[in-house]
């Protein structure tokens, strides 16, 4: 059987594109394909990943300019048709700016750029991105961001809760979701959310940086496994 291709979008200023390419390429039967921001052709990929970094230098607001790049018009259409789109870190910011996900990310509560391991708790394991996890599983996955403070109006938070759209929360090593285990000030300790349709996931932590033993954690692999199982039956 021919390899199934997964697109990794490259914006000027993306800096986790090759890490993501490497992680995707480590699965049998899956081939990463880099998609340039100025292109319109999605080249027949079965899923798209928007990687981390500083697209367009984070000018104006993180993700705001990337959202209007030529490739994003195709990605938005692709997502609206129901194909899977995953946004990691800056990719999450781009998805929010695109309106594919609701809410916004502002500067971290304590003003710092945070680059560290975090503990995540899985909140919804019935998505195409999390089917290989257990409910309330604790994962070690790193974050690296200055603007990861998730905000949305109260009615949006209620709607996310009601429709089980919160997928990952920051917790401590014992699984307690509290202010102390909240690294950046995100409302409800939100680390990742999915759209109502269930095909667009955005998260601030970097699963591609927790996909190999030498990186200190393998906990991000199941996210890719879940997605690839969905698109290719791998």
């Amino acid at each position: 059987m021919a390899d199934v291709t997964v697109g990794v979008v490259v914006f000027p200023g993306s800096n986790c594109d090759h890490d993501t390419e490497y992680a995707v390429g480590s699965f049998n039967g899956i081939k990463p394909r880099m998609l340039w921001h100025n292109d319109h052709d999605l080249q027949g990929v079965k899923a798209i990943i928007l990687p981390g970094g500083f697209s367009y230098g984070d000018y104006l607001r993180a993700g705001s300019i990337a959202r209007f790049s030529p490739i994003m018009q195709e990605v938005i259409e692709f997502a609206r048709k129901g194909f899977p789109v995953l946004g990691i870190c800056n990719g999450f910011q781009v998805l929010l700016e695109s309106g594919l996900l609701e809410g916004a990310l502002s500067k971290n509560r304590d003003k710092k750029f945070l680059c560290c391991q975090t503990t995540l708790k899985t909140v919804n394991c019935s998505t195409i991105f999390t089917s290989r996890y257990q409910q309330d599983q604790l994962l070690t996955i790193p974050i690296a961001h200055g603007q990861g403070n998730y905000f949305a109006p109260p009615e949006v938070i209620e709607s996310l809760q009601e429709h089980n759209q919160i997928v990952f929360k920051y917790s401590d090593a014992e699984g307690r979701v509290s202010e102390e285990s909240n690294p950046n000030g995100s409302l409800e300790n939100i680390a990742g959310i999915i759209n109502r349709q269930g095909n667009v996931l955005g998260l601030m932590p970097h699963p591609e940086r927790a996909s190999e033993k030498s990186l200190g954690s393998l906990d991000g692999r199941a996210l890719f496994e879940s997605l690839f199982e969905h698109i290719a039956g791998v």
Binding site: L60, I65, G103, G185
Partner: protein, 84 residues
């Protein structure tokens, strides 16, 4: 005759402005004890080649909502001036 749009984008009051807080603390450290708060926003100048004021206003509103501000967490305001 073109217009210059002077557009201000500010964080909504309900959003914590960490940059503003840092500046506020620095000002207090400098001895300005009557400084109560500081908030940081963005100032953007755009030249719009339109004859009609109404059309320039429409464009200003559209670009502010579409790209220059994020309505989830920011407000915007603008002034239009004739360029001579």
């Amino acid at each position: 005759m073109p217009y210059t749009a002077k557009i201000k984008v500010t964080l909504r009051q309900s959003i914590l402005d960490v940059q503003g807080k840092a500046v506020e603390h620095a000002l207090k450290n400098l001895g300005y004890h009557t400084v109560e708060s500081a908030r940081i926003g963005k100032y953007i100048e755009v030249t719009i080649n339109e004859e009609e004021l109404q059309e320039a206003e429409r464009i200003c509103n559209e670009i502010s909502q579409k790209l220059l501000s994020n309505p989830v967490m920011e407000n915007y305001s603008f002034e239009l001036e004739h360029v001579n």
